[in-house]
Symmetry: D2
Subunit: 388 residues, 4 copies
């Protein structure tokens, strides 16, 4: 029930049992091509997509390394721990970061982005996190990236836990490089980065004085090998590709709208439960709460460790706490992938209640679960109806 | 969450992935022998044990077919649907059944057994169901079988869902033939019968004028092949044996006391939830409620089908209803194997609440779950402490 | 490489990883129904088919128990160990066996069957083994059963290892009850019997003075529950059904003609190898050699144990020896299921050569494999072309 | 049968079925720590080891990126395609490469390395490929690295397919950074780099004016997180770690000497087969042939594509061809991991024979296999004896 990696479906596990093929076996080439096609459907895009080895942080570093040349000015939007981390990448590859930051329980106002782009000349790239999992918040990426495009600024979007929690489209949202992960709302395995790249972004990479090539961090390598010739720049993780193919098939079979509806409805019920228990949400408003996890302030009288360790050791439920600067301040209920379902939200909230009672807090047993059950009125797996 | 077969653990599924071996491959012989040893530990017995192909009803038919000769008088104790079924087997193999029956929400009184055995001469066998899953009740098998032994009567016990829900021992309980199933409290797969056989029972089989041999129903065949020569009377289901070996290892790793404690504590919490919701238990008293499932009278205003189908179609939870004569009268919450855990009891009760609300019943959301959470006070996976 | 159970495909193993469902879950009902449909296609029949728990010997006992009433006269054709075993079943259920036997390296002549049926009045049933795996021979079942039908005699056919090694059809071949196994040429798991039943056979079962019902051995129970009402007479082995569904899908995807062609071509190459090595085939002629395994006389100077144990311990290859009366007289190369392929025939023959050299026999290394390679000229996996 | 990724064992596949854990779940931390311990045993080292996400080319790039600072002089030893590629990394990270090259069918002479180090002052690093898979050759890395250490030069060794094909030890061989892959001789999955790092190498990384930190390419990040604090610099590929743990356990259970013996004996038999067929080995002498694959010159009259595609399409065997500059010049028989076994070498050689016959070459069927069978005299799986 943690904030990713999450438990995968039995179907995904079965997919990983396929015999490991030599990567140039025609059967594997076909699987990889099929997976790429499925990914474009899940990303709802006609842009090129790239499947990069290793988890999404490599995808984000690759995006920055492939685009940003020494001296390039980059507007970095910071509303949480992950946004702040982007600065390290920008600096490493020689970029000149301009930061626009808000408190870590708030979201970036698109108007401010416009004002900064108007005020500061020469900004070439913009980096933004869609779903700030550590804070349990979302940024209005669609508005932000459209503004960036008005100014000819190339956007790099961390939508690692955003894909699947909101209906998005790189074209409609004007996202130039969007980096997602299979191990969050899609409920897949952590081992790949899923990236969509706009023509503008490819041009920017190719137009650099010294384009990045011949590196694990090079997105261009994938363009000149896989996209153009169906060859690989290096050996892909065969089994992870099997898992991804299956995860994407399951996603499309369920339907993107259902997937998103299921996550948003589960998040709404989780928030109802939290409030009914007298606990406080971490995000400053429910409007900016992400659909993939629910961040809750640590109640008075206990520590985040108390809650997390008791839940894990007594009841076998693993949830996440705060991260980096947020350590100790919050706990996070997870409802990603398979966990975005009433039975699992109820199980999690129920065990949280039991844990809070164990820790001596004065709560009414069943009150959180009761609120969740009420919020789930209208849910129907058979017709894929999810109350909002 | 149904009353078996139940979902198996990931470890059991993995065990079934072992390559299918030729049954006379030395590696398979070793696995089969190891599995037999483990089974004796789980049965807590020094008696011989037999692992018969196909689910436990074959084991029960085998026991009757191997023991009962034409004209043999058999006392059949009936407190539910499964008990009544035994009569068919007794009659088929030429036995002469004497029935002692109680209503299907009650248990057999050992005193009555004694009185019948005193009153009716010449009874050779006694058949009894330990855990009557369809009624959610248990019979006092220990007392009953000890009385049978006093009278020199061989007992045949259906403990298909009893093994794992109560600490038992064929010797201490005086059970001559005890038939269990892996797919109930042990949380295994449905495809084998697990049978312990006392020396008295072997003698009775061998002492028949025409002992049953050369049949799938012959327990003696297993004695003269596997037990005496490590050969097989027919090809075992290789993969089911892999599953069983793993299930027994998991059971012993957890410990029999923990397994039983987990089931009894879960059952107690489920009963608390049912009562808090204003529903009525099917068994006439909590003392005779089985630990493997909780039978609940169908509430007024709805049918069992309404409840079962809504739970399944809207929330993906499968529970069982009544069976045979009990059809339409009750529903059964399952807490066998992995499901004997607070998180899953709470999930199940929560979804039942949601379902009852959907069907228009006037219940307080969270009240059942709250009672379960309260009942689970003291549970601790880490130290294997289960409140009772 | 033994004579069954054989190693299953990765796809079959994956199918067994599906979560174990409650057998009355609608999803499982659908899987079982689908599996039944697939089985009829693989059996190439419009007759009813029954999937019985436990391996094929239970299916054979069920057929005899369901049909044969005390006093019924049964013509039992014996050309090997399995044929001889049928007599036990006939006797157990009160039948009056008439035996027609040939040496265990020969096949039954249909003309003799006709003569016996003409000569002996009142024969009601005929039992025959299609592929006598222990002898590596086949009987002309099509001719035999057609003759039986002329005489109004109901046939019971053990085609456990015949299905998949020859193109057959219960209707065209006039087989009334045909019992097959998934673990032989279909390459599946050992745990089920696959049975097709003609209308004549159903009538015979129903027409008995006391039809067999309420027993694990009753085929009629499957008719009145599953076939007529989609209910189960007892809990099926859920995971074995998953495996079977997958195995049948794989079989139909490959095509029955390809499956048979692959087996027959592999058997032909194996025989070529055996002869090139100067060894002797067990069957009296190649015409009556089965396609599923190649029985070879144990060469002078070594024992079957020497060969089998050396192959297993030094090179990890498990093959089978003789069985029952044939023990010590022959060894059997297996080419069933996945093993019916040049790479595996060559590997097996190569390791047999190495073993014979280890045991001091004077053979030319590579000569057996060379003959097999020559015999495989024209094989093509891509176009499913198999030389004959 | 290709030159990696290779087919993995059933045990490894099963390990990958474990439920995907949150990476900070205590159970996963324990698995990761255990895997690290096992890796040190397999590497036969007390040096620190690092398990990096993504296949070994990332490990090699990480080693260069972490060590080489702008202006550093690096001696790059080139005896094949992989050696030549190292130059790209050296140049990308600002290094100043000095190349010592031999033809791609030869090995580096350690004496030449000594002379270059004597002649050219200021060399800080040396890069060398242990097993040049594309050429089927090995370099005398032990001698080379010991010479480097005499001169105070830090060595970076690509032993991706070397680990498991030769008994090595980073300390004894004086390898400062050794990069191996699980998907070659260990028979694991392609998705991780396995790296051992000497204290000298850590010092060199830390001593750089601007040590590389905060990047997927930083080995130092692993030192300051995992090695020092048991935290992760980014999310590991959970399932790949499960696979690696299992692969290392299997390796240690088999024993490193056995693993190496099995590979070397299989390679020797494969070479015997190739020569018996009248084909020519690619390496200039058998002494420098690698144990993981056997490179063979493409015979006159056919192309590498002819051979590879016929083997794949007609007989389902996938082998590799030449790579980069070697494309079209050679084919490679693979005997890594499970394929390092007589049954699989014989199967592969047999199907190669069949393929060459199909393509019209004049070879004696069985002659290659016969030579391999002869070479395998003395092999014994049970006692782990492998002829050399």
């Amino acid at each position: 029930m943690a904030s990713g990696p999450v438990d995968v479906t039995a179907e995904t596990l079965r997919a990983m049992q396929r015999p490991v093929l030599y990567h140039y076996d025609p059967a594997f080439i076909e699987i990889f091509a099929h997976t790429t096609d499925l990914l474009r459907q899940v990303f709802n895009t006609r842009y090129d997509v790239v499947i990069v080895q290793a988890e999404a942080i490599l995808g984000l570093e690759s995006a920055v390394a492939s685009l940003v040349a020494p001296g390039d000015k980059v507007l970095n939007l910071v509303s949480g721990v992950f946004g702040k981390w982007m600065e390290d990448f920008i600096v490493r590859y020689g970029g000149d970061p301009v930061e626009l930051a808000v408190p870590y329980n708030a979201a970036i106002d698109p108007d401010y982005v416009r004002r900064v782009l108007q005020a500061i000349p020469g900004i070439k790239y913009l980096t933004v996190v869609h779903s700030e999992t550590p804070s349990g918040t979302v940024n209005p990426v669609r508005e932000i990236c459209r503004i960036a495009r008005e100014f000819g600024v190339i956007s790099i979007v961390d939508t690692v836990s955003g894909l699947g929690s909101e209906l998005l489209s790189p074209e409609d949202w004007a996202m130039d490089v969007a980096v997602a992960g299979p191990q969050k709302c899609l409920g897949g395995t952590p081992g790949l980065s899923l990236i969509s790249v706009s023509p503008q972004a490819w041009s920017a990479m190719e137009g650099r004085a010294e384009p990045l090539r011949g590196s694990i961090l090079s997105l261009l390598d994938w363009k000149t090998t896989w996209i153009e010739q169906q060859r690989f720049p290096h050996t892909p993780s065969v089994t992870e590709i099997y898992a991804l193919e299956s995860v994407l098939e399951q996603t499309l079979r369920e339907g993107l709208e259902s997937l998103v509806g299921r996550h948003r409805s589960s998040a709404r019920a989780a928030r109802a439960a939290v409030k009914a228990l007298g606990l406080e949400l971490w995000p400053e408003s429910e409007e900016i709460a992400t659909a993939c996890c629910t961040a809750v302030k640590v109640p008075d009288g206990v520590t985040d460790r108390d809650v997390i360790e008791t839940l894990r050791s007594r009841y076998g439920i693993m949830i996440a706490g705060g991260y980096g600067e947020l350590a100790g301040k919050l706990i996070r209920l997870g409802h990603m992938g398979q966990a975005a379902h009433p039975a699992l939200v109820v199980a999690q909230v129920g065990m949280l209640e039991r844990t809070l009672l164990d820790l001596g807090l004065d709560i009414e047993p069943g009150s959180g679960v009761g609120a969740a059950i009420t919020a789930f009125a209208g849910w129907d797996d058979a017709t894929r109806t999810y109350p909002l």
